[in-house]
């Protein structure tokens, strides 16, 4: 199974509509894969909020209006911030039946106020147990951060370093929300506290954007990238309830399954796309996928080992933090960026000698998890 082509629109505050963003991504991916739209057997569509932001349900039936292709299956995939990764895994499984599949992830978030968006996105949490208690996602991330920081003696300065690194990467990524924008430690440290202890620069930005990826059973072009494995799983929605609120063993469960399926070890991976909706996640996830021991991420961050020119390059194009986070598109953006790296087309974000890359995406707080490993 191979990735034949992919395309990302510029993320950020876009004047284009959701339809226009999707169209741009679809057209771009077809050109990249050198494929005609009629050759696509199935479409998988990833979106989280169109019901609120566009007043449009059943996006699957909107797609033929953009492609001109009717009569083919379009599968919707909604899994909060993890929709893109989950849609990709779903498409990979569908390759057992179909030959060529296009996955499209898109979101339009800039038309509404922050308080509206917090509410819309907040519907991805448990209605009765969390939404009614005011647990917007930055608050959930903050409570997780607070517990994790206390247990493993992590400082706000550690979180700042993550944000700084990702903004340095995003600054030179032309597709990133924060492309060309200088963000320094002072700005990060002085940014307002949204939900203590998390500050503005610990949180990813609402963003507009779309990504399309084309995959097939067979290798068609020289530049096709192998899909070594792609797994997904869902877990009990409520963020809190268990006895240990920061025991995220479900991450390890999905990670182990994916690595086993790819027949490789975490040490075999050269580059990592880690879902950093909140900066603390870039500390937690690497520890649970086995990259670092528990409580040791902070040392790698302090030593600069997760920078793009170092031993464990994480979020080399800016992560969700600096690329922006159009919910339905982010998981696919991670896969697109891994592919760019593997093909040596990541421009100023390029990492040397990359053979294998990993994308880890999740929805809600580690509740809809997906992980994909790509290989040159």
């Amino acid at each position: 199974m191979f990735v034949n082509g992919s395309y990302q629109t510029k993320f950020g505050i876009r004047v284009e509509s959701l339809d226009e963003l999707m169209f741009e991504a679809i057209k771009g991916s077809l050109e990249d894969a050198n494929v005609e739209i009629q050759d696509i057997d199935v479409f998988v569509l990833s979106n989280n909020l169109a019901e609120f932001t566009e007043k449009q349900c059943n996006l699957a039936a909107v797609l033929p209006s953009l492609t001109g292709v009717g009569g083919k299956p379009v599968f919707n995939c909604e899994a909060a911030c993890g929709a893109g990764g989950t849609a990709f895994t779903k498409a990979v499984k569908l390759l057992n039946i179909y030959d060529k599949i296009m996955i499209i992830g898109a979101e339009k978030m800039s038309d509404y106020s922050t308080s509206d968006m917090l509410y819309f996105v907040g519907t991805d949490s448990d209605r009765q147990l969390e939404q009614r208690e005011g647990l917007i996602f930055p608050a959930a991330g903050a409570l997780v951060a607070d517990q994790y920081m206390k247990r493993y003696n992590i400082s706000l300065d550690d979180l700042s370093l993550i944000s700084l690194k990702n903004h340095e990467n995003g600054k030179v990524n032309p597709y990133a929300h924060f492309y060309g924008k200088e963000v320094n430690l002072e700005m990060i440290n002085n940014s307002p506290i949204l939900c203590s202890p998390l500050r503005l620069f610990d949180c990813s930005a609402n963003s507009d954007g779309a990504v399309a990826v084309i995959i097939s059973k067979k290798k068609v072009n020289k530049k096709d990238i192998k899909i070594k494995a792609s797994c997904t799983a869902n877990f009990d929605l409520a963020t809190f309830g268990s006895k240990d609120p920061i025991d995220f063993k479900q991450i390890t469960e999905v990670s182990d399954k994916t690595l086993k399926s790819a027949e490789c070890k975490i040490d075999d991976i050269d580059i990592f796309e880690i879902h950093d909706g909140f900066s603390i996640m870039e500390i937690i996830v690497p520890e649970y996928i086995g990259l670092f021991e528990k409580g040791k991420s902070k040392f790698a961050i302090r030593d600069g080992e997760t920078r793009k020119d170092s031993k464990f390059p994480i979020n080399t194009t800016g992560g969700l933090k600096a690329c922006g986070h159009p919910l339905g598109a982010s998981g696919l953006r991670q896969i697109h960026d891994i592919r760019r790296q593997l093909l040596g087309k990541a421009g100023k974000n390029q990492v040397n000698k990359v053979k294998r890359g990993l994308a880890f995406n999740f929805g809600s707080i580690f509740k809809s998890i997906s992980m994909t490993i790509l290989e040159l």
Binding site: L118, Y119, G122, R132, G134, D146, C195, S196
Partner: protein, 271 residues
């Protein structure tokens, strides 16, 4: 309140009937924690559509059984503070409890607050089904469900259910003009009345809101699917003021502190 499988020890926050995982036939155990330790706090400084007043605090709590949960509050708390469900000590009270997946927990909550007083009062349960042809089967009706929960609570806490003086279950298949007659019936009784009113929205549409202030024990928007708040009071004047002035944030009740969020607020717009 949540459920625990006696066999495999799995925890369920939803009101499920049996554990599909271990296929155990044993009944799920209801866990009703009463002691909570504050183990984490976040101060939320950004307003969202349903929570516009900021800052507020979200407490991460650990109960006496070791499980965690969260609670929104406007009061400042310190880490390691122990929160206990308090019994009522004052004469006038409004208790408000959110009704979540296990709706019984709201009934248990308010009765728990009332427990001291329960010894000295009689309960008069009047169930009012306002819609002539209700979509619920009698046994599934929210009002019936709440009544059953009251009995269950009394039974669990060894409180003699003789305190329930009268119980009118599905007393009236009301047509709206009959509401005023029913009002006369329940007036003049000095006992604590439990009046559950189903389909409150219908009453509001009919512009007949008098029952809201007569109800001492009242569910708002009480379909099983959407029921959201359960009130209990012994002071109708206080309760009326609360409802009419829509003190949705400022009031801290004896018992649970709560707020009514926007989608619930629309059902309280009596004017």
């Amino acid at each position: 309140m949540y459920k625990k499988c006696k066999n495999c020890k799995r925890i369920y926050w939803r009101d499920i009937k049996s554990c599909l995982y271990c296929k155990s036939n044993s009944k799920l155990e209801l866990i009703f924690p009463k002691i909570f330790k504050v183990i984490g706090i976040t101060t939320v400084n950004i307003p969202s559509r349903e929570h516009m007043r900021v800052p507020y605090y979200i407490l991460l709590l650990k109960n006496e059984f070791g499980h965690t949960s969260i609670k929104k509050t406007y009061k400042e708390h310190k880490i390691n503070t122990i929160l206990r469900q308090r019994k009522l000590s004052k004469d006038n009270y409004i208790i408000c409890s959110k009704m979540k997946y296990i709706k019984k927990s709201a009934v248990f909550n308010v009765l728990h607050y009332l427990e001291k007083k329960l010894k000295n009062i009689q309960i008069d349960i009047n169930l009012v089904n306002c819609k002539p042809k209700d979509k619920f089967e009698a046994g599934q009706m929210p009002s019936k469900y709440i009544t059953n929960s009251v009995f269950e609570y009394l039974d669990k806490h060894n409180i003699d259910n003789n305190i329930i003086k009268n119980e009118y279950i599905d007393l009236i298949k009301l047509k709206y003009p009959q509401l005023s007659n029913f009002k006369n019936k329940i007036e003049g009784k000095l006992t604590l009345k439990i009046v559950t009113i189903d389909n409150l929205k219908v009453i509001k549409q009919e512009n007949n809101t008098i029952y809201l202030i007569d109800a001492n024990f009242l569910t708002i928007n009480s379909t099983l699917k959407k029921s959201s708040l359960l009130f209990a009071t012994n002071n109708l004047k206080l309760f009326k003021e609360f409802l009419e002035n829509k003190h949705i944030y400022e009031k801290t009740f004896y018992g649970e502190e709560t707020e009514i969020i926007q989608d619930e607020l629309k059902y309280l717009n009596f004017n």
